[in-house]
Structures are given as structure tokens and as C-alpha cells.
């Protein structure tokens, strides 16, 4: 079925088609339409799930952990301050190895309080152990949410996933979106039958045990690290299965006009489409410019990033986020991927679109001009654009 859907409606469809059985929820802009859509389906008897309004985002993630630890498939959605309030529980969800799937509609963090989009909420999850996918359009948000269940529930992964879509820019913007048939999703995504974490009085199980020695604690933390590394292989397989099922393909990174590029722009999320349009313009003018979109933040696809950028002379990493005193978050992560090559490109950080600051095509041409200056100076800089 092809329809005009907002990003919120698209991921609500993904949760419904994935047959998530427990949906704890709490409203927050710009995510609220996801749970409102699910609530209406539930009220109309079209959603086979326990739709469970909670008292806070912290309680949402706590209930999600309780239900996932019992053995059912769990979906939820949040944004911004909500992600911050549940932050404590994000680590616990990953540490307990619970394949919860959450959608985050990115929104800048307070203070000052704002409603509009940037990625600091999503990127605050970097070290929690969650699988992290950032999408550039509503179709990708829908597809990524369904795939996230399959990746998270894989026995070599067993980690929660967050699928990010940009607040308002995608969440409340309608785009033509293909909604797969239920049968197609059922064949792609088998039901969740955990053997590692569940509650059944016939087989008592302790979860969340205290580990009060560093040796064993390190062992458990290392298991999460290994699961993240495994997720890369699993993700590639799941994406390949999805392509066979639907014809739509997603990689860990997306390379655009990178074949003979000498300079690259790195982006995440919906601004990538704006940047690609300007890359086309610059290509038309004969400039050898490409774009790398970082779709997956965790596990960070280090090899792919290095291979894509190792022959560049200059790289402009555009970050819709800010690590105060440092610059863009992806900038330092991507620079890390290129540490062990001999001729490193000049790499500058461009902090852009904070709190919904407008992002226009022409700004990417200006970014490239600034990058060229940095290349002449042989020195990367941090700039706000």
C-alpha cells in the first residue's frame, strides 16, 4: 500500500506490522502522533498489543524492560527530554540484553527549551549499548524500525535499538511511503521467543543480579561490546534480507557521488537530502565533491568510513549537535576512524541546524569554501553555520 504518511504515522505502521505486543508510552512533542496513532488503532481493535500509558518516560523504559525481560516484543517512542529522563534505564536495557525497539523523534535539549530538531538527544545514547540508526526519510524510518526488531532479537546481538527520525522535519511531514503487507513482514520477522531472558514460574530466573567485583563486571560489559561488534554482521544480513523482500536497500553508511571525489561532506539524518542536492549543483560546476551519510552510529562502521574517506583531501563533517568545548560529535568519531592512515584528510567540524536552525542548500557550498580555506591552512576548524 502506498500512502502519504507523516514520519510518525510511518513508524506507527512499523510497530503495528512488527506485531509489537507491549507498547508503554508517554507523550512528548514531536513524537506524540506515533502513540496517538497507535492509541486509535488500539481503540478500534486494529492493534493486537497492550497499549499502556505510563506516568513518565522513566517509567516507560522501566515497563519496557519489565515486559521485555518477561519475554514479549516491546515498542516505544520518545524524544528529547524524554530520552534524558529515561537515560538511566537505557544502560539497564542494554545490560540486561533486552531487544526493545524505540523510535526517537530528534529534538534539541533544554536549556534553553526548544521544540525543534537537533541530534543531541539521540547522540546522548552513544555509550548506552543501544544499536543506533539515523534515517533520512519516512520510508527509511518505517523500514529501519521493522529491521531493528530483527537485528535486536538476533541471538548474537540481543541489544535494544533506537531508530531516529528528525522531529517535525520528518515526524510531522507527509511523504509518499510504501507500507508493506502484513504477510510480507510476518515472513521477514518471526515472533519473539527468547531463551536468554524470560519469566516463567516453572523456570525461576534471576535478572539484574549485582556483580560486585570488577573482573566479572568487566566480563559482562565486554559481552555488550562484543554484541555491538556482532551487530554489524547481523545488520548487513538483515538489510540484505529486506532488500530481497522489498527491493529497498540500506547500508551502514550511504555513499553519494563518492567515486572520484576529493572532498566529502559527512551528514546524518534528513539534512542529507538537502546536502545531496547541493552536491549535485557543485558536481555540475565540475567540483569533485561527494557525500557520506552516517546511517548507523552504533555499531560505528569504522572500516566503511575509513575506506570511503581515506583518499579525500578534505572532509567537512556536518553535525546537527554540539559537544560544548569540542565541536560536533560525529566529527571526532569519524576522525578517529582515520587515525591509522598515512595521509589524513583535513577534517573540519560544522555545527549546523541546532534547535531547528534552517539548513539551506547554499550553506553546503559555503561549507565547502570554508573547508578549502582550512585545507590551504592545513588545519581543521570548528565552526557554527
Amino acid at each position: 500500500m502506498k500512502d502519504f504518511l507523516t514520519g510518525n504515522e510511518a513508524v506507527a505502521w512499523a510497530a503495528r506490522l512488527s506485531r509489537a505486543r507491549y507498547i508503554p508510552n508517554y507523550p512528548i512533542s514531536p513524537q506524540t502522533e506515533i502513540i496517538e496513532t497507535l492509541a486509535q488503532w488500539h481503540a478500534d481493535g486494529q492493534l493486537e498489543a497492550d497499549f499502556c500509558p505510563m506516568d513518565s518516560e522513566h517509567s516507560v523504559m522501566s515497563a519496557a524492560i519489565g515486559a521485555s525481560a518477561t519475554g514479549v516484543r516491546v515498542f516505544t517512542a520518545s524524544s528529547s527530554q524524554g530520552i534524558e529522563l529515561m537515560h538511566e534505564m537505557l544502560y539497564i536495557a542494554a545490560g540486561l540484553r533486552l531487544p526493545i525497539v524505540m523510535v526517537n523523534c530528534s529534538r534539541g535539549l533544554s536549556a534553553p527549551i526548544t521544540l525543534l530538531c537537533d541530534h543531541n538527544d539521540y547522540l546522548g545514547m552513544r555509550d548506552t549499548g543501544w544499536i543506533m540508526v539515523n534515517t533520512q526519510n519516512n520510508q527509511e524510518a518505517l523500514d529501519s524500525t521493522i529491521m531493528a526488531f530483527k537485528i535486536s532479537e538476533n541471538k548474537d546481538v540481543l541489544l535494544p535499538s533506537v531508530v531516529n527520525l528528525d522531529g517535525y522535519v520528518l515526524s510531522y511531514t507527509m511523504e509518499p511511503t510504501i507500507v508493506p503487507e502484513q504477510g510480507v513482514v510476518d515472513r521477514f520477522l518471526p515472533s519473539y521467543r527468547p531463551t536468554h531472558a524470560f519469566f516463567d514460574p516453572k523456570q525461576p530466573m534471576v535478572q539484574g543480579i549485582a556483580v560486585l567485583d570488577g573482573v566479572n563486571y568487566t566480563h559482562f560489559r565486554k559481552q555488550v561490546h562484543k554484541a555491538q561488534l556482532n551487530a554489524k554482521r547481523v545488520m548487513e544480513k538483515v538489510c540484505s534480507d529486506w532488500r530481497k523482500t522489498t527491493g529497498r536497500h540500506y547500508g551502514m553508511i550511504e555513499k553519494y557521488e563518492m567515486e572520484d571525489a576529493e572532498m566529502a561532506i559527512v551528514t546524518q539524518g534528513s539534512v542529507s537530502t538537502t546536502a545531496k542536492a547541493e552536491v549535485q549543483e557543485m558536481r555540475r560546476k565540475g567540483m569533485k565533491i561527494g557525500l557520506l551519510r552516517l546511517r548507523v552510529m552504533r555499531p560505528l562502521p569504522k572500516e566503511e568510513i575509513r575506506n570511503a574517506l581515506k583518499d579525500m583531501k578534505g572532509v567537512a563533517v556536518v553535525d546537527k549537535n554540539l559537544a560544548p568545548g569540542l565541536g560536533g560529535i560525529a566529527h571526532s568519531e569519524i576522525r578517529d576512524c582515520l587515525y591509522d592512515i598515512e595521509e589524513q584528510p583535513i577534517m573540519s567540524s560544522f555545527v549546523m541546524g541546532l534547535g531547528g536552525k534552517p539548513e539551506e542548500m547554499k550553506q553546503f557550498a559555503q561549507i565547502i569554501d570554508m573547508l578549502k580555506k582550512d585545507m590551504i591552512d592545513k588545519r581543521g576548524r570548528v565552526r557554527f553555520v
Binding site: 497492550d50 499502556c52 515497563a63 515486559a67 514479549v72 519469566f199 525461576p204 534471576v206 556483580v211 560486585l212
Partner: protein, 300 residues
């Protein structure tokens, strides 16, 4: 209607919390969980909030023969909601209980607990109340009694200890329209029958179990039950229940003991003068009279 335990000899023999746990010797909180599991049976899932009892399950050991999850300090009630809902989806029968300290219940987790009560899930929330943050070494919380010495309300030249009167969580929870009750290790049948009653009612229940704390309250470790008994005999810790917003007092001492008898067994009140103890006695007597009146009115 529930299967009442009529005498001590009728308490089930089978234990689901066995020996070898790392709690303090004479800890009434561990006893409270042991009795709860005896009363509720093996089909019980325990949701624990961070606190003393989190150390029961210490990798790679557990003294429990039932399922257990420890999540965080403020969210046992929300975690239990997820478990109860998922068990229903999976068509598996179990009694879901929370076993949480007073700090996590009165203070940091009150939102989560209130939400649980409002949603109506049949979860039995047991607060083992040792009247302070005991696991971190006895700091003040809103369950701490007036004038008690804690590490964050120490008596000194300009202070007599905790100057903030404690909350009444039983009434707060009773006002949610759920089953709420107080309990004590010195009255095991009362406690276990309240648990069985809650289990049979199949609605949210809040049971607050007074849990004297050997190091926190500062009494001899063999005297936990005696201290708890004096708390009730002096009406410092009355036994009552709230059902459909109606209060019933479960035990009325024929001869009310003085609060001083209860207080003088404990180091946390050692700094108080007779005058100070009389102030506490006045508060306790007033609360008890109010409770008696509330029972007569049949309204909270």
C-alpha cells in the same frame, strides 16, 4: 475470600528464600521477604528496587527459589507493570510483587508507585520501611521519624536530629482507592494474611512492613522483633488497613506502652532528653487518636 493462616503452625514450611544471603545478621527486611514468599507461594516474581535487598542476589549466587529482577531504585512499580502485563499477554500465571525500601518508595519512586496504583495492575507492592536510606549507611528520607539521628540529620549544637515529620504513605496509597496496610515482623500472621488477602483481591496493593534496622537504628541484633513489637504496642507503628477508603485498625493494645520504652532501645534517639521524648509521645498519641476517629468515621 482468601486462604487465611490461622496459627503459626499453619505457616507453610517451604522456604523460597534460603540461607546464605549477605544481609546483616538479624535483618528484619530479609525476614519480611521470606515471610512474603511463604505466604504467596512459588509462583511469585519479585521486583526489587536498589537498596539493601538488592544484595541478596550477588553474582553468581542467589538465595531465592523464585524469579527476581533488580532494575533501579525508583522504578520497581513501573518495571512490575511491564512484567504483569507481559505475563498476561503470555497467559502465564504469577503473583508479581515489589520489594522496595522506604527511600525508593516515599521519595525517588513515588511517581512510579502512584502510576502503578492508578493503572490498577494486580501488583503487591511491599515497602520494607527501615525509616532511612539504610543501604548507603542510614541517611534521612521522608520516612525518617521526627528527631531521629541519621547521617544527614545528625544532632549537634544547633540541631536535635531530623526536624521534618515523616509522610504517611499508607494513607497516600489508600487514597488511590487500592488496598493499603501496615505490617510488622512482630505480627507475622497479620502480615502474611494481609499479603494473602491482597493476592486474592487481585488489585494493586500497598503493604508497608516496619523493618527495624540493626546498624541504622542501633539496637542489639537479637532485639529486632522486640523493637518492632514495642513500636506497635506504643502505637508508634499501628497495624491497620485501608480498603475502599475505609480504615480498619487490626490491633489495639489493651495497655498502650510508652514511646519511651520503644525509643530507649535505639541509638538513633540516644541524644534526646525526656522533654524531647515527650514531644514525640505527643505526636504519636495525636496520630493514634486520629486513627481511632478515622476508623469510627469509616472514612480516611
Amino acid at each position: 475470600m482468601y486462604n487465611e493462616i490461622k496459627a503459626l503452625r499453619d505457616i507453610p514450611e517451604e522456604d523460597f528464600l534460603i540461607g546464605g544471603s549477605p544481609t546483616c545478621s538479624g535483618c528484619p527486611a530479609e525476614l519480611g521477604l521470606k515471610m512474603a514468599l511463604k505466604a504467596l507461594g512459588k509462583n511469585t516474581i519479585v521486583v526489587n528496587s536498589s537498596g539493601c535487598m538488592s544484595l541478596l542476589c550477588n553474582y553468581p549466587y542467589t538465595p531465592l527459589k523464585v524469579s527476581w529482577i533488580h532494575c533501579a531504585i525508583e522504578n520497581a512499580a513501573a518495571t512490575a507493570t511491564g512484567i504483569a502485563r507481559a505475563m498476561r499477554l503470555l497467559k502465564r500465571e504469577a503473583t508479581v510483587i515489589c520489594y522496595a525500601g522506604d527511600g525508593s518508595t516515599y521519595d525517588i519512586g513515588i511517581g512510579s508507585l502512584s502510576g502503578m496504583a492508578a493503572r490498577g495492575d494486580p501488583i503487591i507492592y511491599i515497602c520494607y520501611n527501615n525509616q532511612a536510606y539504610a543501604n548507603t549507611g542510614n541517611q534521612w528520607d521522608t520516612a525518617t521519624p521526627f528527631l531521629a539521628n541519621t547521617k544527614t540529620t545528625p544532632p549537634g549544637k544547633q540541631s536535635k536530629g531530623n526536624l521534618i515529620p515523616h509522610k504517611n504513605m499508607i494513607k497516600i496509597m489508600g487514597a488511590h482507592g487500592i488496598y493499603a496496610a501496615s505490617a510488622s515482623p512482630a505480627y507475622p500472621l497479620d502480615y502474611m494474611n494481609k499479603l494473602r488477602k491482597a493476592q486474592a483481591m487481585n488489585i494493586p496493593a500497598y503493604i508497608e512492613y516496619l523493618s527495624p534496622c540493626v546498624p541504622g537504628w542501633g539496637y542489639d541484633q537479637e532485639k529486632g522483633i522486640k523493637v518492632a513489637k514495642l513500636a506497635t504496642e506504643s502505637c508508634f507503628w499501628p497495624l491497620y488497613e485501608i480498603e475502599n477508603n475505609k480504615i480498619t485498625i487490626n490491633y489495639k493494645p489493651t495497655q498502650m506502652r510508652s514511646v519511651k520504652e520503644f525509643i530507649q532501645l535505639q541509638d538513633r534517639f540516644r541524644h534526646l532528653s525526656d522533654y524531647d521524648i515527650n514531644v514525640i509521645q505527643g505526636l504519636v498519641t495525636t496520630d493514634w487518636k486520629e486513627l481511632l476517629e478515622a476508623e469510627t468515621c469509616k472514612k480516611t
